[in-house]
């Protein structure tokens, strides 16, 4: 605990610190890390920062920020100190997520078939049927293996006691997995010695696992299915990831205009004619997928794609209509969903959630706007959010109006003081930054979770928002065996 950590203030009375326990001692799984970082001078850190920056820049790992001057590309902020998750904690996360994703998938199958859970009144039917992500076009369709959510990135946080809680299920087009992989590469270049000291579980096989999953879910009639990635295009903020994954899997990266549907079959346009496509890993929202079915003004989609899908000639990953299950209102029902379909108690808990559509909850929300976090049910990326303690009276009043006008669209949660992790500030001093964790779950014939995930970190002093679109950064995440 020399140099950098000497002056580090964990403030363990207020926050759960990942590295320093309440007693003020480093947690055992961080011992070797602190020792190693203790040997570094400020210049060492600077040199390593340079290695990392060059790596990211050369790889073209930049992030486009909307609303700024066109073409502004920034390096994705990266913190040099990795997060360590001990194997026993990881086991809980792994089991919890497997349970949760299995239940949510069963839920989706039910919603798009018999709707038993609505008939049994576990969830009010109007919440489902009125959701903007419920796709009636898709009722009765049978995706291969009955799987809807092939790729998930659940957001997990830790509360003041260090319990892992699920904050969000991202069941549509979760992003960030490429940063998980690249962060590991960058760390290996900058801190090779540190890797010698820990038994870190590898994550490098994610692209192979993803490809395997995508091939498993191909149309039953097609052997050796041809997989493509569908991207909105180079101006999308996650474009780097789309191309990265296509390259890592060795499959074509396509835009809507590269695909064409003929006789309910999907093809790519190539220099030698048309080539059949069996599985589309699409990173395009439902609404833009097919101008004949959804938004007619979509220039990103493929006319006829949904029909081809309904006929079973092509598989989309994730399936259409998954958004109905990751809606922030439905989120509050996930513990019931797990109990209903699996007959088990949830392994990972939810963050307590009040629904504005519920009159008594609404009253509570409006009375406590200053202390709650209010979220729009269908937004992501940290948009449409009110953080009570940081908000002005005027902002609160605005939100109150919006909530009353459309209660179905809002939920509220207590302001949870997310766990903190020492992170570099200007590469000269450490301070505690709030973090979360997004592991990536693959669901084909089996559920696979690569050990690790993307740890997002709110690099603004005191900020709670970790989304990259809001100035957050990330860290490498190590699941270690002792």
């Amino acid at each position: 605990m020399i140099r950098f950590f000497e002056r580090y203030e964990a403030e363990t009375s207020q926050f759960f610190d990942e590295v320093i326990s309440k007693e003020g001692a480093p947690r055992p799984h961080y011992d070797k890390m602190l020792h190693r970082f203790g040997q570094f001078s400020a210049d060492d850190i600077k040199a390593r920062r340079e290695i990392v920056n060059i790596f990211f820049r050369n790889q073209g790992i930049t992030f486009t920020v909307y609303g700024e001057e066109e073409g502004v590309e920034r390096l994705f902020p990266f913190d040099l100190i990795p997060r360590v998750v001990p194997a026993n904690e990881w086991q809980t996360i792994e089991r919890g997520l497997t349970q949760r994703i299995t239940a949510l998938n069963t839920f989706l199958h039910d919603i798009y078939h018999g709707q038993k859970i609505l008939k049994d009144k576990i969830i009010p039917a109007e919440l489902i049927l009125g959701s903007q992500h419920f796709r009636r076009e898709f009722v009765g369709v049978n995706p291969p293996l009955g799987i809807y959510i092939h790729v998930t990135g659940s957001d997990i946080i830790r509360d003041g006691e260090g319990n892992y809680l699920v904050l969000e299920d991202n069941l549509r087009t979760p992003s960030g997995v490429s940063y998980m992989l690249q962060n590991r590469q960058a760390m290996k270049r900058a801190f090779p010695v540190l890797f010698d000291k820990y038994k870190i579980r590898p994550i490098e096989n994610y692209p192979q696992e993803l490809l395997r999953t995508l091939q498993e879910i191909g149309p039953v009639s097609r052997r050796d299915p041809n997989v493509v990635v569908l991207t909105p295009g180079i101006y999308n903020s996650a474009y780097f990831e789309h191309s990265f994954l296509a390259r890592q899997m060795g499959v074509e990266l396509t835009e809507g205009k590269d695909l064409v549907v003929n006789n309910n079959k999907v093809y790519t346009r190539t220099t030698r004619g048309l080539e059949r496509v069996d599985v589309v890993y699409r990173r395009v929202d439902d609404a833009f997928l097919d101008p004949l079915v959804f938004r007619p003004d979509s220039k990103l989609g493929v006319a006829g794609l949904v029909n081809a899908y309904r006929k079973g000639n092509v598989t989309l990953a994730n399936a259409i209509g998954c958004g109905v299950a990751d809606d922030k209102v439905i989120y509050s029902f996930v513990p019931e969903i797990i109990k209903y379909y699996l007959g088990e108690d949830p392994i990972l808990q939810n963050v307590p959630t009040w629904l504005a559509s519920n009159p008594s909850d609404l009253k509570y929300i409006l009375a406590n706007l200053g202390s709650l976090v209010v979220k729009a049910a269908n937004e992501s990326g940290g948009y449409g959010m009110l953080i009570g303690p940081e908000s002005s009276i005027e902002q609160q009043e605005n939100f109150a109006e919006m909530i009353v006008a459309n209660p179905r669209n809002y939920i509220a949660q207590p302001t949870i003081s997310l766990s903190r992790h020492p992170s570099f500030f200007n590469d000269t001093e450490l301070f505690g930054c709030h973090i979360d964790l997004r592991p990536y779950v693959l669901y084909g014939k089996t559920v696979t979770i690569v050990p690790g995930g993307l740890t997002r970190v709110a690099l603004k002093r005191g900020s709670l928002v970790v989304n990259s679109s809001q100035g957050g950064g990330s860290k490498d995440t190590w699941v270690v065996d002792e």
């Binding site: 087009t173 346009r269 220099t271 048309l274 220039k299």
Partner: protein, 357 residues
């Protein structure tokens, strides 16, 4: 290979080659002034207007600047973002194309385009003025490095062939323009100052033309020191072994096109193959006297037109691909293929900004 990917490879390569050639034009002009001991006349417009003629951009240039000088022409050809052919624009467009197919090219290729792009972001006019030789060499070397990396890290299959087609079509076009303009310059000087054209200044100018194609040494090996316009034109247009001659470049483009389509001599399968084959055949049986008989300027102009036609046919054959059997509603609803030369259209930019979870 996806048509869109093929097209982006094509334009990535073409813009890179164009940037290199622009650097060559500028570099040789500085050298010429040095050789002629006219560095003190560096702002003399007659030495700079030719560079604008070479790129056929006179009108756009005149809208932006009041005079032809080292400063304005360098600014226009190196930095100006509204000039799509400036070195900065070309490398930006090459990078944009590369970025859109980053998964298809090797990461080494991407790093090279990206490095050059970032290098150019930090270059100032002052820097170029202080060391023009160093700067243009940097651009030329970057282009050579890119080609070397491409040859050694990228499979020599269809995609590589599209890169070659683009490179050699662009190069042919640039050599033709360069010769044409120098010829004009010399011609106009011959009228105003006939004594110069016959003298050593003429030789120095022609040597500059050779230098800008890195051809001086190769030329000397063939023609020893008989530097006269006939030999120089014979070399730059008709030589079959020098990589910056028109004949060589057309042959190389033809080879690449044939590898893609499986065409062979006397048997073409599409119009791109036919047009390039015809051009190549004619070049093979042309003597420099034939060119003079037609008139050099007319000959070069005709050549440039024919290169444009080849480019159009490559586009129609491979990039604008659609199958005739797909008719009915499917094709009507599908978007037309909109890949275009000047980079990428912005029509879908707004929609691409959809939120990612």
């Amino acid at each position: 290979m996806l048509s869109r990917v093929a097209e982006s490879l094509f334009w990535m390569s073409r813009y890179f080659e164009r940037a290199e050639n622009t650097a060559r034009f500028l570099d040789v002009n500085f050298n010429l002034l040095l050789d002629l001991n006219k560095i003190t006349h560096i702002e003399n417009p007659s030495y700079w207007v030719a560079l604008i003629l070479v790129t056929s951009d006179k009108e756009r240039f005149n809208n932006l600047y009041d005079e032809y000088s080292a400063r304005t022409v360098t600014d226009y050809l190196v930095f100006n973002k509204s000039n799509p052919n400036s070195i900065t624009s070309c490398i930006g467009l090459a990078r944009e194309n590369a970025r859109s197919i980053i998964e298809s090219i090797s990461s080494e290729m991407w790093e090279q385009v990206n490095n050059l792009y970032h290098y150019l972001q930090n270059v100032t006019p002052q820097f170029v003025q202080n060391d023009p030789y160093g700067f243009y060499k940097e651009i030329k070397n970057a282009s050579h490095l890119f080609q070397g990396i491409t040859d050694n890290t990228f499979s020599h299959n269809e995609g590589w062939d599209f890169i070659q087609i683009a490179k050699y079509l662009e190069r042919t076009d640039n050599i033709a323009r360069l010769i044409d303009v120098k010829y004009h310059m010399l011609l106009s000087e011959a009228q105003s100052q006939p004594e110069l054209v016959a003298g050593s200044e003429d030789i120095i100018q022609w040597m500059a033309v050779l230098k800008s194609c890195s051809a001086l040494e190769a030329f000397r090996k063939v023609y020893l020191s008989k530097i006269d316009p006939d030999n120089i034109l014979r070399f730059l247009i008709l030589d079959r072994t020098f990589p910056r001659s028109i004949n060589f470049s057309v042959c190389a483009a033809e080879d690449a096109l044939w590898r893609i389509s499986g065409s062979s001599r006397h048997r073409y399968v599409n119009n791109a193959d036919r047009l390039i084959g015809k051009l190549e055949a004619e070049l093979s049986y042309t003597a420099i006297e034939d060119i003079f008989a037609k008139g050099l300027h007319l000959y070069l102009e005709d050549l440039e037109q024919r290169l444009v036609k080849v480019g159009e046919q490559v586009h129609l054959t491979y990039f604008a691909y659609h199958t005739p059997e797909i008719e009915s509603s499917d094709i009507e609803e599908a978007l037309p293929f909109t890949g275009i030369a000047g980079g990428r259209a912005n029509w879908s930019q707004a929609q691409q900004h959809q939120q990612q979870q």
